[in-house]
Symmetry: C2
Subunit: 499 residues, 2 copies
């Protein structure tokens, strides 16, 4: 069946003088007409001569188009005859079929791995006091931009090859020196592996040290990312108060449920802010050693201790390859930088790097070089000094205001560092649902989280609030809104229990 | 037991005028002495006054150090008495124990996930003709550096929050428009998710669409990254020739082994370079649909087709949410950029993004913004035009030289695009071990891979060679070395079989 030459030509919209060459426009449109049009298999298209004349293009353009479509299997060319449409029956059926999604589904593992483990504060215009979020206004844009630009100019063939996956060697060397000096981390530079965030580090550890049937131990309340990583890998989770981890390891072992992995944030426990004393660290290392459990030491914000220096990293205390040290640029710079570093025990470095490559959790080389430059030039240290001072002022301001205005409702520890603070409901409000209170605050623009969301077992009630943007007016508003929210939630609860 | 004050003071190396404050130096060193020294629990350190005098520092410095160590649980301070070392027994034991690694091991899954699936060419000074590797000298350093710098200046709070994980919205919009126009990809911008490479895309798909007991289908010979991703996720693999995928899906289904995932590179099959005809694409889409298998369309280098335009993406042909489209900047820019993009079928976009976040395979926001700028400004298009011309010249040069000088040993298809070419051993050399030949070439600085390494079943023998650096002198040297290597391998084989 011949198509009508004039109608067919008129259906093609050829634009002259644009970016796209005529032959490309023709190819694209004829292909679409054949595939998505109403043209049945066997239809005969205009001859090259006829179409060229009707479109006022050279015949070579039409010949080239038809040849490409023939190579695609869409047209059949015949000497001295019109080209024949070959759209196969299967396609005609597919194009007309209704869209349905019954046949495609997540796998069983897919449902587990894509579970949302985090509390999501409503995504409003203001996201004030968001826990753990640094202040974007203090990000060293100029220095970072310069360092990135220099990295673009300097990137070598070696740093850019498919072979350079675990990290750019220069950054490995710089971080090795930095971590030894600042944190007492004992490692060769090859043990330093760069990943796109703490989450990737935790996931990869769970993947290579954990099994589907294994157990893991986390802190209660504790970092949700660890929970998400372990749960994604199918591990069964137990939790213990930050001070009771070693005892819990012993208990689990006695019950035949020894953990394969233990997550801890000893420098500045998330979200409570506790600093783990040395004797507890040593007991935990020893307990983990007795059952071969790998300790994951999340040192996410030790740069921000307001007083004194952080303790030496647990990695430096363990003589037996039993600690994975994890640090990050998410707090010192920004989460969007997506750069964290893992110091993997030497016997497992190659396995970690190989798993990382198979998973594909790798970091842009320019970003790695820029970060190395910021450390080497001292700009990162200067930046940290500036923001530590600034963050201390803000955190203490919020703490003092809460202490002064809200001591009848919540209690807080004096912050010793970091970018968040936990406010526990006092006894009188212990029964109030902290999710209700958090939602009320979310609605007013405060991206705070309920403390219970960080708990696996017995929920502790309270709020976790960020401090990096704790300006005076924000703190004052926050206190007012919180007091109203908690009072209202308590009254509602009481009227319900009376009614 | 009192330590000797003079000896103790002499063991501390205090540097004046350096970067590190005196109190920090003292804290670090006393801590180390207590923890790693031979000092038993209960030892009595010098008084603050005595140590200050011996070190010639202010007493306040020593007081501060001792107080920090007391807070750490390392020292016990007593009024009018020397501080007492509290190193707990568990630590004394640990410090003296020999380093052993018997207790710590990879998990069963860890051994699987960290398997090395790729052939590794020896890592010499020259890495010539490495398959799939772009030419670093053509990387647009200046434009990329400027774009990164602008991104550093412009990054907004929204783009930098912990909530912005799947991708920076601007890049999602730009890619959506670009992929629609250039590749016929049909999607909303929210379906575009940015990952640190094709590998991450494949891994995440295997994770959410595959199960530990599931099956997957790959091309033979085919891309090793797909094999690594599927194997890491525990999937059982089958393989079929690129032209026989649809039939294989039907066969597997009939045998009750229907695949959950199918990997294909239809625009330019890796490593053979084949372009899948439209009717085959439609048949594959239909076959996959009948068993609910997700098709992963790896469109890694469609920007480099030397003649004509690439076919519309399979994603655009499938009306039923059954295709995941994957593109990358690894070929158009550099692998070290670590940016790829996935168009996920709408019903699974949220699950994919959530799994991505739990795994932590996220991409730096500055890199995302810079890539968006390169597309929007037209700089990427201009760059692609330049390098396509250049790559075509080089690939055809290598092809012609191989054809002319080596037709008695290997055969190749005329390259139609991309950055690599397969050279199959001719019948006479079909029995020669291509790994031996590849190793011989690797030793001479050619990072080529054996074709058999890309095969799961019946190995095809040959070499996969890169073409992006195929300068005239390199091509000539390569032909000589290859001829010598294959002849020598064949002779060795013959003398063995005679002997």
């Amino acid at each position: 069946m011949r198509v009508n030459d004039e109608e067919f030509a008129a259906s093609l919209k050829i634009r002259r003088g644009g970016e796209e060459p005529l032959s490309a426009q023709l190819y694209r449109q004829v292909r679409a007409a054949v595939m998505f049009g109403e043209m049945p298999s066997g239809s005969l298209l205009p001859s090259t001569r006829s179409l060229a004349r009707l479109l006022n293009v050279s015949r070579a353009v039409v010949v080239q188009t038809y040849e490409l479509l023939a190579a695609d299997g869409v047209l059949q060319l015949q000497a001295k005859a019109r080209p024949r449409v070959l759209a196969p029956a299967v396609f005609e059926g597919a194009a007309r079929k209704e869209v349905g999604e019954a046949e495609f589904a997540l796998s069983e593992r897919g449902r587990r791995v894509s579970q949302q483990h985090r509390y999501m504060a409503a995504d409003g215009a203001r996201r004030l006091l968001s826990p753990g979020r640094p202040d974007i206004d203090s990000f060293p844009r100029a220095q970072w931009g310069r360092a990135l630009r220099r990295a673009a100019a300097q990137l070598s063939a070696r740093d850019s090859s498919y072979q350079t996956t675990a990290a750019v060697p220069r950054l490995q060397r710089v971080l090795q020196g930095h971590l030894l000096q600042a944190r007492g981390v004992q490692a060769k530079s090859e043990q330093v592996i760069v990943v796109p965030g703490v989450q990737a580090a935790l996931y990869l550890c769970a993947l290579i040290f954990g099994d589907e049937v294994g157990a893991a131990l986390i802190e209660e309340p504790g970092y949700l990312g660890a929970r998400a990583a372990f749960a994604s890998c199918g591990l069964q989770m137990s939790a213990a108060a930050p001070g009771a981890l070693a005892q819990k390891v012993m208990d689990m072992q006695r019950e035949g449920q020894a953990p394969q992995l233990i997550y801890t944030s000893p420098s500045h426990q998330f979200p409570l802010g506790r600093r783990m004393p040395v004797r507890e660290r040593l007991a935990l290392i020893e307990a983990a050693r007795t059952c071969g459990a790998m300790l994951l030491e999340d040192d996410y914000d030790s740069e921000f201790l307001f007083d004194g220096r952080p303790l030496v990293a647990m990695q430096g205390l363990s003589p037996e390859n039993g600690v994975v040290y994890i640090g990050t640029a998410s707090k010192s710079l920004l989460p969007a930088v997506r750069l964290a570093y893992v110091v993997v025990p030497e016997p497992f470095t190659a396995a970690f790097a190989s798993a990382q490559r198979n998973v594909g959790a790798l970091v842009n080389a320019h970003v790695q070089l820029a970060f190395a430059e910021l450390i080497e030039s001292g700009e990162l240290r200067a930046h940290l000094r500036r923001i530590s001072r600034d963050y201390a002022v803000k955190a203490l301001r919020l703490y003092e205001l809460v202490h002064e205005k809200l001591s009848g409702a919540v209690q807080a520890e004096r912050p010793s560092g970091g970018l968040q603070m936990a406010l526990k409901f006092v006894h009188r409000f212990a029964g109030v649902d902290d999710v209700v209170v958090a939602r009320a605050l979310n609605e007013k623009g405060f991206a705070v989280n309920p403390l219970s969301a960080y708990c696996l077992g017995t929920a502790q009630r309270g709020l976790v609030v960020g401090t990096a943007d704790a300006e005076e007016s924000i703190c004052a508003e926050f206190c007012d809104v919180l007091l109203a929210a908690i009072t209202s939630a308590a009254e509602k609860k009481q009227s319900e229990s009376v009614g």
